[in-house]
C-alpha cells in the first residue's frame, strides 16, 4: 500500500505550567521528562530519510504536551534548523496544542518562526477555576492574553474546551465567550474518566450540555465554528465518516506516530499519557519497523471490530464508536448514551442548519437522516 503521508505527534515534555483539575497526564516538574535536542534531531532526521524514500511530499507535525511551550525557545529554534536541513522536501505543516500562557518573549519569536501556517489550538476555562497555575490560581487571564497575542500575530486560534459538570451552568455564556474571544473554531471534549464531586461529568450531563450548546448555536445562526457539530453535520451530508480521530477513522495510508519525551512510540496520545500500548522506542526502531508493528493501526482495528450494538446503531455513521481512548469494557464509548441522545436532537434540528448551509444531501433523501430510518445513517 502506498503511503500518502505519515504524521507525527510529538510531546517534547509532559511537564506543564498548569495543574488542571481533570488532567491525568502531567507529572511534577522534577520527574517530568523533557525531550533532548539530540533526540528530536534523531527523530526528525529518521523521519526525513523515511519520507524521502517513500516519496511522501506533505505531512503534519503536531506539538503536544504537557505544555509544549515549556521546553523553551531554543528547542524550537533547533527544531527549525533540523527541519530546514532534513525535511525541506516536505510540504510540512506544524500545529500545536498549548495553554498559551508562555507565549511571550523569545518563545513567541521561536513559535512565530516555526508555525508558519499560523495554526494553533489553545485551551482555557473562562468561568470556572479548573485550569490552574501551579500556585493554585486560575490561568485563564494569562491564557487569554497569550491567545490574543497569537491572534494579533496572525494565528488562526482554535479553542479546546473541556466540558465538566459546572459547564452546564454557563452554556450560553460559554458560547458567546467563544465567539467574543475570537476563536476560529471550538472543540468540545468531555472530561473523561474524571469522577470528581464538583466537576465530574455524567453521561446525562454530556447530552444535556451538547443539546443546550446546539440550541444556542442554532439561535446564533451557527456563527461560531463548533468543530464536532460541523463534522457530524458534514458527515450527515456527505455520508462519509467525520473528519476526526474521535468519530472518524484514520486511513491506513496516512498513519500517525506519536512520540513521548523519552522517545517511546504510541498511536494515541491518551494511551501515551496512560503508558498503554507502547510500540517501542524511536532510537531503536526505524519508521519501516514502526509502520509494520501490529499495533500501528490499533485505533482503526478497534473501531472495525466494534461490538454488535454499535454495528446496528442508527448513529454509527457519525459516531463510529467514538474515541477509542474512552471505550469501556464493552468496546463502546463511555459517552454512548449521551451521544445518542444528542444525535437524535441534532438530526431532529438539522433542517434549519441545511437551510442556511444549503449544499444539500448528496442522495436527496431526507428520510435517510431520520433516526427511525430502517438503516443506519450511513454505515459502511
Amino acid at each position: 500500500m502506498k503511503l500518502e503521508t505519515v504524521d507525527l505527534l510529538i510531546k517534547p515534555t509532559i511537564g506543564c505550567n498548569a495543574r488542571c483539575v481533570y488532567c491525568h497526564a502531567i507529572k511534577p516538574d522534577e520527574i517530568a521528562p523533557v525531550m533532548s535536542q539530540d533526540l528530536i534531531t534523531e527523530i526528525l532526521t529518521k523521519y526525513g530519510e523515511f519520507t524521502r524514500e517513500q516519496e511522501i511530499d506533505y505531512a503534519t507535525i503536531i506539538w503536544h504536551g504537557g505544555e509544549p511551550l515549556k521546553v523553551g525557545a531554543d528547542f524550537y529554534y533547533h527544531v527549525g534548523s533540523v527541519v530546514k536541513e532534513h525535511l525541506s522536501h516536505l510540504n510540512l505543516m506544524h500545529q500545536m496544542y498549548s495553554n498559551a500562557c508562555l507565549y511571550k518573549g523569545r518563545v513567541r519569536e521561536a513559535i512565530r518562526e516555526l508555525l508558519k501556517d499560523r495554526s494553533i489550538s489553545v485551551s482555557f476555562d473562562p468561568f470556572h477555576p479548573t485550569r490552574l497555575h501551579t500556585n493554585g490560581k486560575s490561568n485563564f487571564v494569562d491564557s487569554l492574553r497569550g491567545m490574543q497575542q497569537l491572534i494579533r500575530d496572525g494565528f488562526t486560534v482554535s479553542l479546546v474546551y473541556v466540558v465538566h459538570r459546572k459547564s452546564l451552568e454557563r452554556v450560553r455564556d460559554l458560547y458567546y465567550f467563544f465567539k467574543n474571544c475570537g476563536a476560529a473554531d471550538v472543540a468540545l471534549f468531555p472530561a473523561d474518566f474524571f469522577d470528581h464531586p464538583e466537576y465530574g461529568l455524567s453521561v446525562q450531563d454530556w447530552a444535556k450540555f451538547l443539546k443546550q450548546m446546539w440550541d444556542v448555536w442554532e439561535e446564533d445562526d451557527y456563527a461560531v465554528g463548533l468543530s464536532f457539530f460541523e463534522h457530524w453535520l458534514e458527515s450527515l451530508e456527505s455520508h462519509r465518516l467525520p473528519e476526526s480521530c474521535e468519530y472518524g477513522i484514520r486511513e491506513r495510508s496516512a498513519p500517525m506516530v506519536m512520540i513521548s519525551p523519552e522517545g517511546k512510540i504510541f498511536t494515541c496520545h491518551v494511551f501515551m499519557d496512560q503508558g498503554k500500548n507502547c510500540l517501542g522506542d524511536i532510537t531503536s526502531m526505524s519508521f519501516e519497523e514502526i509502520l509494520k508493528h501490529p499495533l500501528i493501526h490499533q485505533i482503526a482495528e478497534t473501531k472495525e471490530n466494534m461490538p454488535d450494538e454499535c454495528r446496528t446503531c442508527t448513529f454509527l455513521g457519525i459516531c463510529n464508536t467514538g474515541c477509542v481512548a474512552a471505550h469501556n469494557e464493552t468496546g463502546r464509548t463511555v459517552w454512548c448514551e449521551g451521544l445518542k441522545e444528542f444525535y437524535a436532537h441534532m438530526i431532529e434540528r438539522q433542517d434549519r442548519y441545511f437551510e442556511i448551509h444549503p449544499q444539500g444531501c448528496c442522495c436527496g433523501d431526507e428520510a435517510h437522516f431520520r433516526p427511525d430510518a430502517p438503516d443506519s445513517i450511513h454505515a459502511g
Binding site: F127, F140, L144, Q148, D173, Y176, F177, K179, N180
Partner: protein, 280 residues
C-alpha cells in the same frame, strides 16, 4: 490611514495628513481648505451650524460637510439654509442623542442629508427614542440617506464582519485621533480624557482583554464582536441592558435581510439553471 480631526486654526501643521477640519464657522473652513492638500480632506466639520453657510459655495469641488448638532436645539429649521450648499457638497448632520433629537434626524433626512448619531451611554428613556429613529430608518420607504451608526452596523452585521462601533463612529484609535484646541492628541471629541500617545495605540487590544477577563457583561454579550465595549465609556459600570435591546433589533434586521438576500440569490441561480435546461 490615520485621520486627524484638527481645528482649522492649526491646519497648516497637519497639511500633509488625512484630515477632518473643524471650525465654528464656514468662512474659516473655506480658508483652511485652501491651505491643505484637498485630497487628504475627509470632510469639513461645522461646530456652530446655525449660521450663514454660503461661504461654502466658494469651494468649487465637492467636499463632504458635517454639521454638528451637539445638544437638543428646539429649532433646527436652520438646516433648511443648507439646501443650496447640499446641491454642491454632500452633507451629513452629526446629531448628539439627547431627548428630542429625533426631530433633527427627521428634518435632516427630509432635506436629503445623511445623519450620524453620537451616542454616549443612553438611559432607558433615550434608548426608546433611539429605537423610534431606528424604526423610522429601517421601515420608512422615504428614507434615502444613511443614518449612522445604524446603517454601517447593519452592513457589518449583514456581512458578518468584525468591524466595531469604534471604527464606525470614527473613534478607533488606530485610525482616528482628535487634536484638541490646545494641540493634544486624544481619542475623540466625545472622549477627550483618553489621551493617545501615538497613532498605533493598543487601547482597543488592552480594552478587549480587560473586558473579556473582568467577568462583566461584555464577556458573554452577543454583540461584543462589533461593540467592543463602546458603551462602557466614560462610565465603566454602565449597564447595557437597554442598549442590547437596540442592537438586537439591528441584528434581527440584518439576519432578515441576509435570509432574503440568500433566498433571492438561490432563486436567481435556480432560475438560471432552469433557463439553461430550457435552452438546451
Amino acid at each position: 490611514m490615520f485621520i486627524y480631526n484638527v481645528p482649522a486654526s492649526i491646519v497648516e501643521d497637519y497639511a500633509d495628513k488625512h484630515l477632518i477640519v473643524r471650525s465654528d464657522v464656514p468662512t474659516e473652513l473655506v480658508k483652511a481648505y485652501g491651505k491643505v492638500n484637498s485630497a487628504g480632506v475627509q470632510y469639513l466639520q461645522i461646530l456652530q451650524p446655525d449660521c450663514t453657510p454660503n461661504p461654502l459655495l466658494e469651494i468649487g469641488e465637492p467636499v463632504r460637510i458635517e454639521l454638528v448638532v451637539e445638544d437638543f436645539i428646539p429649532d433646527v429649521s436652520f438646516l433648511h439654509n443648507y439646501a443650496e450648499v447640499g446641491k454642491r457638497h454632500p452633507i451629513r448632520v452629526g446629531i448628539r442623542t439627547s431627548p428630542g433629537f429625533s426631530e433633527a434626524v427627521k428634518l435632516s433626512l427630509s432635506l436629503g442629508f445623511a445623519v450620524a448619531l453620537e451616542v454616549t451611554q443612553p438611559d432607558a428613556v433615550l434608548v426608546e427614542e433611539v429605537k423610534t429613529v431606528l424604526d423610522y430608518y429601517l421601515h420608512n420607504p422615504e428614507v434615502n440617506q444613511p443614518v449612522d451608526f445604524f446603517h454601517s452596523l447593519l452592513t457589518v452585521l449583514f456581512d458578518d464582519s468584525d468591524c466595531t462601533l469604534w471604527e464606525i463612529q470614527g473613534e478607533d484609535p488606530t485610525m482616528n485621533g482628535f487634536v484638541t484646541d490646545d494641540g493634544r492628541l486624544v481619542l475623540s471629541r466625545r472622549l477627550p480624557s483618553i489621551a493617545l500617545g501615538e497613532p498605533e495605540s493598543t487601547f482597543l487590544d488592552d480594552l478587549k482583554l480587560e473586558l473579556l477577563t473582568d467577568q462583566g457583561e461584555c464577556m458573554t454579550c452577543p454583540f461584543f464582536t462589533n461593540c467592543l465595549g463602546y458603551f462602557k465609556f466614560p462610565d465603566r459600570s454602565f449597564s447595557c441592558s437597554h442598549v442590547r435591546e437596540l442592537l438586537g433589533i439591528l441584528s434581527s434586521a440584518a439576519k432578515e435581510l441576509r435570509r432574503e438576500y440568500d433566498a433571492a440569490v438561490r432563486d436567481e441561480d435556480g432560475g438560471y439553471e432552469h433557463g439553461e435546461e430550457e435552452r438546451s
